[in-house]
Symmetry: C2
Subunit: 176 residues, 2 copies
DNA sequence: GTAATGGCTATGAAAATCATATTTACAAAA
DNA sequence: TTTTGTAAATATGATTTTCATAGCCATTAC
């Protein structure tokens, strides 16, 4: 429906990959999942997407085997989303994209949004594929990230603004 | 005009990067530039995009500082496109995307589209960020790629089909 | 019984994309 | 000198996507 697999007819792995993730919203959803957010609302709030954008992307990602949708509550019925092995395997791409974004899409005074520490050596991991401190290849499970104060604040504000917008029914609707 | 910089208001480097490259066509154009194709027609043929898609993406990429448009012939006036330093710096993302695409978006019997050799050690480089043979970090300038026979054929066919389609004016138009 | 929470779906306007044809500018061939 | 060919696009009109906004449904909390 949404993406009719345009590149099934090519052997190029980049084109194949782009068929699944060649879309701003999909990548932002993946970012949220990697950041540990598993719920529809939180993903919507932090990506800034419309409910349809998030819903269609999550459905497509489930169909593509990137994401698993599971019921975490029976009544009321509630779902959450988690990365599959295939989805987890996308992490190096996100890391590389993050490194490029930090180095080439931001001014110096904006600072690093998330600083990773390499837990196996305890030193800052830096932006490359190898730990800046110990030189080992960075694996997701060995990293612990800490958001900068301003970035954390930005995310809190987005969540609050989202909740406020939904809670408000707009004065006119309520019998004005 | 095309992308009004939606994420200038976030510190997230992934969102910032996606503002520039969060688009199938942009990534495919980058792929072609990394493969050494610098001309409009060849990029159009190999990405399968319409002329507008390619033209708008190249213009946006030039505006974003990813690509440099230079005149390579005065009369007739002809242009070519090359990566800037910022564009070249995107290579790790393409490599990571390629690795993921090869491992998760293809069946085993399709085979690897491009095999890289690490020139500093002479051994096959593999799919990771480090050389499979010698363990060093892979840099673009140390890699030489060789396309598989089927992938090379696919690309030749695309180029031929593109040329044929353009040369043909369709029989009706010619006074049939 | 009114609101809040969570996960969506519906609607209509606005924008992007697609396929196809055409343009511009020059060179070489018929 | 008219046609053919090449390179780099632009124009057009139909189709598809996306966006902003609103609404739905089933619970639990007050």
């Amino acid at each position: 429906m949404s993406s009719p697999r345009k590149s099934a007819d090519t052997l190029c792995p980049v084109a194949r990959a782009e068929d699944l993730v060649g879309d701003r919203w999909t990548v932002l959803v993946l970012r949220e999942l990697f950041m540990g957010n598993r719920r529809f609302d939180e993903i919507q709030a932090q990506t800034g997407g419309t409910p349809q954008m998030v819903a269609t992307r999550l459905k497509q990602m489930e169909a593509d085997g990137l994401v698993l949708r599971t019921r975490y509550n029976e009544r009321p019925v509630r779902y959450e989303y988690q990365l599959t092995v295939k989805g987890e395997a996308f992490y190096p791409v996100i890391l590389a994209l993050r490194a490029w974004g930090e180095q080439w899409c931001k001014s110096a005074e904006e600072g690093i949004a998330v600083r990773f520490t390499h837990r196996t050596c305890g030193l800052p991991a830096g932006l490359g594929p190898l730990c800046e401190g110990c030189g080992e290849v960075l694996r997701r499970e060995d990293l612990s990230g800490e958001q900068s104060a301003t970035y954390a604040e930005e995310r809190n504000e987005r969540r609050d603004a989202f909740r406020a917008a939904r809670g408000t029914v707009s004065p006119e609707q309520r019998g004005g």
